[in-house]
Every structure is written in structure tokens, then in C-alpha cells.
Symmetry: C2
Subunit: 295 residues, 2 copies
């Protein structure tokens, strides 16, 4: 049975823009306002990470303090550590996200520590988030493959997901970081994770680097998952392959869901316009096929 | 049950290039040789249509007479009428294709006659093809939507498919000409057609204008269909929307199938190289996400 309603977690303003040329705070504020106006209710708006690592996100505090809030919309921030969490809290983030990799090599190369160490470091953050009643989302990366290791065991994805869930993450977003997955593998992975985390607490964050994201999502739609991450205009190229796609375009996902009678609460035309506007600002065509076809 | 092997019908050199800027005969010959070298065994190599309508295909007779034939590869031609068929026959085409629309308005606007009239006109062609033992493939267009009518009834798709099959077409290729379909509709359409044409005689020709082609194919893979049309590098933009995608990129399809353990006999790297070479000639980036990720 497919869901009748799907929740879309929009990552364009964070996961998307952090992999694009930097845009002004004003342009981000406009994007976030446009996204909310299109009907999106879950918007990742920034990241409280060192500006040395991710200069594109240096203005996240300004974003959170300056953006007009739309009632019913949750504005989320990525917080890599306690310091980031405290900044997010001070800036008024409604919820935050932490992360762990399902690949040991990816964890080592990316953040210079083991998977388990990286997750342990989030324990104080989880405690303070709980005190402040701030919901925490957990991202797991490399769930269908790793740029360094290639194949990733589904049991490892399940193990990391379970740890994050038991630590208190309200939802686990399973990321195919390099977009290498195909439908059968995607189903197998979800099956394994759903054994240790309730399936309704899972989200899929599939990248479209190899054009597989929608097929993978469709393959998993009847498994009880009803939350998907996507990025308007496909913002966020793939850092591992110059010129290749990264995030799945939200417009393309919404088109598929609406075409199957699944509700999202989103106005597709408004969403495509939001994506076209930010694409113009970063100086390239929208990576959404739907947006280009509608234009 | 998904098939263990899939047959890919490569349309890039015809359906693809007829919707791109014209390339030289030499470039086409190289493309066709590269496609065969990648392991493709069914290659649509040209169209015997009036050069006034489709100037990009004016050299199809030269293509068929000059191209080196690879053993085991079938080289096909589109033939809109008896004159075209005779030219194809004289040029040595191994098989030909005819077509009908599932939309009355599309038929009227495209070829200025009704669906039934357009199909009746193929009767003499079918007779002569039979005399010469030339297999005829049947394309049905607009199976999931029409640029003029919008929604198309699945019963009409089934009706036109059945007529072409009963006329002697050995395979019916169901075309989502404008790429508007989504997975549930695709399944419903195939279900309807499979009631009147044996499912193993059906092929799917899904365009990727809205990014849905792979999800639609995956949705139909367990229904008994094991033949899919695709176009290397996604050659063939969408004539109804400037800058939008048309054909599904063969590389992206092959990647999905191989990822699920389904054999195609194709060397993906060689195929991507063939696509990158012709893309360079027509002056744009390959429209295959896989090709761009591998590059």
C-alpha cells in the first residue's frame, strides 16, 4: 500500500546551497520565503558549522533571526556539534539535525574519526536538545554506497540508524550520498533498517547523481515510508563528480507523487518558480526536469 | 518477477538525432558503429521520411548503405509510408517501424488524418514487408498523455496497439511521447494493453521530460515487459518544451538494470563514451546523468 500523503523535507537552502556558489543572505531569505509560500512545511534553512569548512553557510544565524516565520512551518538547522547547537538555539531554529556515516572510510576522511566516535560526540548535544525540547533529526550518509569503500552492508546502515534513533532522534533520514543506489538495493536497505527502527520514523534522502532517485523512491513507497528529502531545482551538485547531479529536485518528486494521487500540500508551479529564481541567481539552469518542462 | 535479461532498442541515431541540430553522415556512421561496439543489438539507424519534414534524416539511405554491419545487430528504419519502405528496403534495412497515435488530436495535428486512416495507409506497406520477410515494429505515441488532449484513455491505447499487432507488427512500442506519465498510470496502461496484445510483444518507449521514465519502467518491470527503447546521451530534446529533456538516456536505463542484476549485454562505459562523443559534436553536455557522473 502506498501512502496517501507524503511529507517532504526541503533541503535546498542548506544541503543544496552549501554545494553551490555562495549567494547573498537576501537571496536565501527570498528562497526560504518562496519555499514556505509553495506549501512546504519542513525547511532546512541553514547550518551552524565552521565558516572555514562551509563558507556558504556563514550567515545561518542571520537567516534564522531575519527570516519571516510562516505558521505551521518548521525551520531546521544542521548542527555538527554542541557549539553549533547552541548557536542554532540562540538563533531560533525549530529543530536541528545531526549525522553519522554508514561507511567507516567516509567518516574517517570526512570528519577524521570513526563512526562510533562521531556519534558519541553528539550525546551532550542530544541532552541539551532534550532540555530545550528541540527535536533532533538524524542523517545517515552512504546508505547505498561509499565513494571510498563502494559497497556498504545494509546491517551497518541498520546499526548506525538504530544508534541514532535510540539516542533520541525523532526521525532517521537515510542518505544515498553519492546517488549510486538502484531500486532493488534501496528496498533491501530499507527492509534491513526497518527491522530496528520503526519504518514510519524513516525518511529517504536519495541523490540523483545517476538518475535513479525517483525509481528508488517509488520502489520503497509501498514499504511504509512517507517522508522524503529533496532539494528545489536540484540545488547541490555532486562534490565527487564535477558537473554531475547531486540532490533530487523537489519538483520532480512532487510531480511523481501528485501524478499517483499522493498529496504533499505543495503548489508545484510556485515551487518551480522558487527553484527557477534561485537557479538564475546562481547562474545556471534548474536541474529539475519538471521545472524545465513547465517553463 | 522481474526479467533476468532485458532487450534495449536504441533510438538515438534516429528518434534522437532527428530532434537535434543536423550532424554529418560521418558522425552518424561513427555513432552507429560505437553503439554496436558497446553491445547494443537493436539500433534504429535512420528514417525514410521526406527531407522537407525532417532534414536531419535526409542521408538515411547513405547511412544504411555505408555503415559497416556488425553480425547479430539489427539495423532498423522508420518508414512513414510505402515510398519510405521501398527506400529502406533498397538501402538494406533489416527491419522497419510504422506508427500510430493513441490521440486523435495528435494524429490530426501531426499527420493531418485520423488515427484509423493513418493506420489503414500502412496496409500496403505491411503486405510488401511480409513478401520480403522484413519485420515491422509498431510505435504507438501519446500512450500516457497528449500535448493537445491531455489525458488519454488506456482503452484507446489498447485499441490502437491491437490493430497494429493484428496487422502484423512483431512488437508494439508504447510511447509516452511527452513524458508526462507517472508509475501508477504507466502500470494501468500496460495492464490494459496486455489484455489485447501478448505482454512479451510489448516494449516501453518512455520519455524523460519530467524525469519519470526510470520510475515508470521500474514500475512495469515485473509485468512481463522486457524490452525498452532509449536514446544514448538522451539525444532528442522535447520539441514541445524548449530546453526540456526528451528521450530517456540509455546509459541511465542500463545503469538501473545492471544495478538490479538484470543483463543487457551492454558495456556501460563504452556506451557512455559513444554518447559523450556525439554530444560533443552537437555541442552540448550529455543528457545522461550516468554519463556525467562517470566522466
Amino acid at each position: 500500500m502506498m501512502p496517501t500523503t507524503v511529507s517532504i523535507f526541503e533541503v535546498g537552502a542548506r544541503d543544496g546551497l552549501q554545494n553551490e556558489v555562495a549567494v547573498t543572505t537576501q537571496a536565501k531569505l527570498q528562497l526560504i520565503a518562496d519555499l514556505a509560500a509553495s506549501g512546504l512545511t519542513r525547511i532546512e534553512a541553514g547550518s551552524f558549522v565552521s565558516p572555514k569548512w562551509v563558507p556558504q553557510m556563514a550567515d545561518s544565524a542571520d537567516i534564522f533571526t531575519q527570516m519571516p516565520r510562516v505558521k505551521g512551518v518548521t525551520y531546521s538547522a544542521l548542527t555538527p556539534n554542541l557549539k553549533g547547537f547552541e548557536l542554532a538555539l540562540a538563533s531560533g531554529a525549530d529543530e536541528v539535525a545531526i549525522f553519522g556515516a554508514a561507511s567507516e572510510s567516509f567518516s574517517q576522511k570526512n570528519i577524521n574519526c570513526s563512526i562510533d566516535e562521531s556519534i558519541e560526540r553528539f550525546i551532550p548535544l542530544m541532552q541539551i536538545a532534550k532540555q530545550h525540547s528541540i527535536p533532533v533529526r538524524g542523517y545517515v550518509s552512504c546508505v547505498l554506497g561509499c565513494p571510498y569503500e563502494g559497497h556498504i552492508e545494509v546491517n551497518e546502515v541498520a546499526r548506525v540508524s538504530e544508534i541514532l534513533y535510540k539516542m533520541g532522534c525523532y526521525e532517521i533520514s537515510l542518505g544515498d550520498t553519492i546517488g549510486v543506489g538502484t531500486p532493488v538495493n534501496a528496498r533491501r536497505m530499507v527492509e534491513a533498517v526497518a527491522k530496528v527502527v520503526p519504518v514510519e520514523k524513516l525518511a529517504l534522502h536519495f541523490h540523483d547523481t545517476y538518475g535513479q532517485a525517483l525509481a528508488n523512491i517509488f520502489a520503497c513507497l509501498d514499504m511504509g515510508i512517507a517522508t522524503f528529502d529533496a532539494s528545489v531545482a536540484g540545488l547541490g551538485g555532486c562534490p565527487y563528480a564535477k558537473g554531475a547531479s547531486g540532490n533530487l529536485a523537489t519538483e520532480d518528486l512532487v510531480y511523481m507523487l501528485h501524478g499517483m494521487g499522493i498529496e504533499t500540500g505543495i503548489d508545484l508551479n510556485k515551487l518551480a518558480t522558487a527553484g527557477n529564481n534561485i537557479s538564475q541567481i546562481i547562474g545556471r539552469k534548474s536541474a529539475s526536469k519538471v521545472a524545465n518542462a513547465l517553463a
